[in-house]
């Protein structure tokens, strides 16, 4: 019960970065919000996997962690080539 509430809280934290992702004045703001969304997704999947006792969700969290790392590095590489 309390774990479901905590999963809801992590989902709220993930979605709270959404206005910064859409509005963010610079590109760095947007990638910061995307990074927080990736971390929040990983946290949501971990808490949900604990709440439902489904360890398969931990593997999905691992996939999202890898994707977040690659996307952030791609942003920095793009910025460097543009400069």
């Amino acid at each position: 019960m309390i774990l479901n509430f905590l999963a809801f809280c992590t989902l709220v934290a993930t979605l709270a970065a959404l206005p910064r992702l859409i509005l963010g004045p610079t590109a760095a703001d947007r990638i910061i919000a995307a990074q927080l969304a990736g971390t929040g997704t990983v946290a949501t999947l971990i808490v949900l996997g604990t709440a439902d006792n489904a360890p398969a969700l931990f593997d999905a969290a691992l996939v999202f962690a890898t994707l977040a790392a690659v996307s952030g590095l791609a942003f920095v590489a793009l910025q460097r080539t543009r400069l």
Partner: protein, 97 residues
Amino acid sequence: MTTVLHALGLTLTTFGVSFLLIAALGVWRLPDVLSRLHALTKADSAGLALIALGAACLTGRLNTLLTLGLCVVLVALSGVTIGHLIARAHLSEGDLE
């Protein structure tokens, strides 16, 4: 023993989730790129590590420990690296945008 582990897991997970909520509030409301970056890296390193530690205490199985540890190490390493790179790109750009 199981009760102690359960309570410890719930406490750690609650702390991690509150770290994440505060970081989301910071990214949403803080005025500057560098201060938003400061709020983000706390969630990356401390928040997710606490959540995964709590989850490891709550599931109580050793074979999930490897996956959770790998998640934490990956997110922490990428968070630290990307935080450094974003700050450097922002500072080298100046205040053009």
